[in-house]
Amino acid sequence: MNLFNILFYSIALLIVVSTGLAVTRRNLVHAVIYLIMSFFGSAFVFYLFGAPFLAALMVIVYAGAIMILFLFIIMMLRVETPEEQLFPARQMWPAVAVAAGYLVVGALLAAHDPAAGAVLGPAQTEPAVFGAYVFRNTWLAVEVTSLLLLVALIGALFIGKRPTHESEE
């Protein structure tokens, strides 16, 4: 049991627990906060796996931007604690069944896969190397993604407008 292992398993536990808590919160703000914790954990996992740039990105974009956006929206709409039933049985049991099935099948697949047995050790990718790789090998995807982000920006602006002339549509 070295430090690498200890760190991974404890963080994995943190991620699972906080995600589980996030899923089950009635208060949406709480849920988002737990999820931010979970994303921090993920960021740490990335760091462990030798991707410091991704870890930083995770913290900045996911935990920092996306989740805060969620918080903004929740607070703006004043829907912190919805009144409806948290887990209606009609929906929960199928969901649980599907999730369980998912786990079982995933476990089966993973156990079956010889690759699953391989052991991962510490490693490091320089952000500069990663950046060079991304822009050399996947430049087209980068361009497409940037275009997508632009479209999303415009789309969000357009959709998010307060529907003032609703009656005409």
């Binding site: 070295n2 690498f4 292992n5 991974f8 994995a12 991620i15 699972v16 996030a22 899923v23 949406l28 849920a31 988002v32 999820l35 979970s38 993920s42 991704l54 974009v61 996911y62 996306i66 969620f70 929206i73 709409l77 829907v79 919805p82 409806e84 039933q85 209606p88 929906q91 969901a95 599907v98 999730a99 998912y102 786990l103 995933g106 993973a110 690759a115 699953a116 391989a118 052991v119 991962l120 050790g121 490693a123 990718t125 190397v129 990663f130 790789y133 991304v134 090998n137 995807a141 993604t145 997508l148 982000l149 479209v151 999303a152 920006l153 789309g155 602006l157 998010g160 307060r162 529907p163």
Partner: protein
Amino acid sequence: MAGIPFGHVLALSGILVALGVACATARRNLIMILLGVEIMLNGASIAFAAAALRWQQLEGQAFVLFIIAIAAAEVSVGLALIVHLYHRTGSLDPEKFNMLK
């Protein structure tokens, strides 16, 4: 024992995806559905990062990068839609939005 078996990382990401699925399908709240999707994406990202380490290939990490970017796009549009819907109907209950039925 030096290092983590790849299967354990897959298990972690699997659990995350399963939680995401459960969240997205069981909660009657549009925001929670979107959160569930984020959780699933997160699980997938972890699996990709681990795979990158496992095979010493940078494609996995590049994929994570794009996942984050696309998640950002998706969340912005999704939340805009939610805001729009909330303004129109005053509710976030997904069962009410079934006009395409």
